[in-house]
Symmetry: C2
Subunit: 482 residues, 2 copies
């Protein structure tokens, strides 16, 4: 007799990666995936480009259709919400679409419940016309609101089988907005600035702190702020939005200092939090970050229960501690590893380095590791940062553009801690060099001596990362010498 | 009293990097650089783009002018050829422009004599109209021959103070060629195909082996060959050119098999060899490669004598053995390290990984480490290679293009040995990820778990390098399982 099924809660990146890998490695094992919504396995990071219009159809953003999931032998149940986990009885309680409760025994359980967009700090976020961007339903509703009245339908948006027609109809009836507020200058806020600009809107971006893209550090932020302003985005820095107001839809934005602005639409992107409500009453433990605590193979404190993706922690390669950085690759990779572990061949989920890239109009931004000095000191390091500006290619070669690289290291050991990059010419992918060096526990001296590629169309003789390492190394040596 | 001067033979990348670094670290030390030609510190790799016309002036390719070198306090003597080294007496013998011999004592000596283009295998390479591309004089002569009669002058080419007017005048008088033969399908041959195509010429490329770009492996070669053919370059593969013939200029190309072709101009790019003639009669030793043998700080077998750049070996990061891979970054870095060592603060020149990138029209190609199986076996490895084709960005994002990644690993240890990349969309710089992983002595398993960047405009969720590692790792595990 085979074991009880491998039950997965959540049908997105981590959940379906786990289900697919387990089924491939152990074809006889029953695998059941419960997804409370209709969508499965979609590219969340592509939604700004759907709103922008560069991606035509929502279905373009699906990695797998439900049919393809079925074809893999996975028992996928959409619109099935797991409402309770009984870790003693190894059973989950599920609300089916008809409202009935079903008890499902499990042999192994993966909690892959993802994260949700924070809106709480901003009052009125539940008004029509106030959106967050967390999933395809949000993206569809925003695009329906942007298109000429009556034009958008679930079918025209590529979401005929998935979208709630009532929501689309409501926003499709609206006159397109003219003035839009973006609350929050993180990746979503920056990407949506580009999307709304492409739609010809008047955009006001509100950021509570002094810089956009906080995790990317000042050198990146300054370039991006310049770019946003040049593109006509009005930046309201160090400005806390208190609430969105209006009668039956968002009409006004009010700030803590008393500033107010009439707006037709608002996008709130002030962060995400892990979906951990389901494990609150179970012995599954949370880490300090508030996400589910796991070991290197994604196992929680409870036997047979795993967690992966945006709801779970992972080990940070620089600090060696568990941390919460919800990103797409992490979810896919951790899910896949858990699937293999459940299939009987334990596999670590892999460390994370907090590697992230974002496009801000023509500026390509990257960050990895620990670049914030306070955070570095908390982790026991004595951080030193150097920032250089150089050419992306040989200076004489057409297309050479400025690129800015920051590297941060520990003064005593010379160990590389993190880095950031910004520039218009192939800047983003270069962050992978820094990410790989971090994973290799390299010192700045070792980074300076990397044999990186050179040819005039692609790089100067000294790659920008090498130049940054050279300068930072000089700084470290001076300190050591004095 | 200060020591005898630091004498440098060769005023290009390695030589001037060493001179500059030594002077900066030890300003009281006399530094003398002998350069037999007129040019110093130029970007050799930019010459194809000068011929193409994308770089207007030869002077655009100079990193430093002679005046700037003087300003650094370096005693630069151009058109001074070192003709003899007496390592017992610590003296070099120099032929000055007026033909006089000067004896110059040295405290430390750097041999940075570079490399020269091989032409020997091809008869008639000394005929007018037969060129190699090794330096700015060659580049200027070729461009003079391509321009309408009477148009090119040393001044118009940006080489007024440097070029030999007689050579430029001769080629400036020619009718522009219509049919050009390129002998050799290495990087120079491929880059010059692009340059000549931009000039509207009819191009025939002859390659002795079965593929162009041998060091880049088959997966890259196949894409590049397709690209070259699509651009109208006639490829003559497995065809050995025996000689170039003509009365007073190149008029015909003759192959070993009897094939002959009428041509107006020929470019011979069949490889380079280190310039080591000067040390032949000294106790300075050569390595197996034929280049000067050095230790990790660039020291030769003789006390006080260093070698760096295209004439010297360097340690290969994969084999741990000394090897000869003449490339721009290696020369700059090794020169700089020698300068620091001579100034009293010993610094390793850094390992090499054979990292190279080349542009073939729209194809960006990269290679690093050991990818040839025979070479891998010679170094004691049991090589396994996997090649994958994937998208350069999320498939739904505009601009996504095919990218091909090959990774090679050792079967037993799983250690990464090398890799290649080819594609039209930011493919080349991604080789740096592989180079960094090699320097970190990573296994394929470690590479598979790298936290590389993902955002739809820049990369798929699984970066192409990760996908290749995943597939290769699967292959290695299967082998281990059986």
């Amino acid at each position: 007799m085979t074991a009880d099924p491998f039950v997965v809660i959540g049908g997105d990146a981590a959940g379906l990666s786990a289900a697919s890998k387990c089924k491939r490695e152990a074809p006889d094992r029953d695998v059941v995936v419960f997804e409370k919504g209709r969508w499965v396995s979609y590219a969340h990071c592509g939604t700004p480009y759907f709103v922008k219009g560069e991606v035509e159809q929502l279905t373009d953003l699906l990695s797998l259709s439900p049919t393809e999931v079925d074809d893999r032998g996975i028992d996928l149940r959409r619109e099935h919400e797991v409402v309770d986990i009984d870790t003693d009885g190894r059973t989950v309680s599920v609300r089916a679409p008809d409202g009935d409760r079903v008890e499902q025994p499990y042999g192994d359980l993966l909690v892959a419940t993802g994260a949700h967009a924070l809106t709480a700090p901003v009052g009125g976020s539940d008004l029509p016309g106030a959106f967050s961007l967390h999933g395809l339903d949000d993206a569809a509703a925003i695009r329906a609101a942007l298109e000429p009245p009556g034009e958008a339908t679930p079918e025209s948006l590529g979401g005929g089988d998935y979208l709630d027609p009532a929501v689309i109809d409501r926003y499709a009836a609206w006159e397109p907005p003219e003035t839009v507020a973006i609350v929050g200058g993180g990746s979503v806020g920056v990407e949506m600035s580009e999307a709304f600009t492409a739609r010809g809107l008047d955009i006001h971006l509100f950021q509570r702190s002094g810089h956009v893209l906080d995790p990317f550090g000042e050198a990146v932020a300054e370039r991006v702020e310049t770019e946003l302003r040049e593109r006509g985005v009005a930046l309201h820095m160090e400005t806390e939005v208190e609430r969105l107001a209006g009668d039956d839809r968002v009409e006004r934005l009010e700030c803590a200092g008393g500033t107010a602005l009439d707006v037709d639409l608002a996008l709130v992107g002030v962060g995400v939090r892990p979906n951990v409500g389901l494990v609150a009453d179970t012995p599954v433990e949370l880490g300090e970050s508030g996400a589910v605590a796991v070991d290197d193979c994604g196992r929680t404190a409870v036997d047979g229960v795993y967690a992966a993706g945006d709801c779970a922690e992972a080990r940070h390669t620089v600090t060696g501690e568990f941390d919460w950085v919800p990103l797409g690759l992490t979810a896919n990779r951790a899910g896949r590893a858990v699937g293999q572990t459940v299939a009987g061949d334990p596999k670590p989920t892999g460390d994370i380095a907090g590697t992230a890239v974002v496009k801000a109009f023509d500026q390509e931004c990257g960050r990895v590791g620990i670049v914030d000095h306070e955070r570095a000191r908390q982790a026991g390091f004595d951080p030193v940062t150097e920032t250089i500006t150089t050419a992306s290619r040989s200076g004489y070669y057409p297309g050479a553009a400025e690129i800015v690289v920051s590297l941060t290291a520990d003064r005593e050991s010379g160990r590389l801690l993190g880095g950031t990059i910004v520039g218009t010419d192939r800047a983003a992918v270069r962050i992978d060099t820094v990410a790989t060096a971090l994973e290799g526990d390299m010192t700045v001296d070792e980074v300076e001596n990397l044999d990186l590629a050179y040819a005039p169309p692609f790089s100067p003789v000294w790659d920008p990362v090498l130049t940054a390492a050279k300068v930072l190394n000089g700084s470290l040596e001076e300190t050591a010498g004095n």
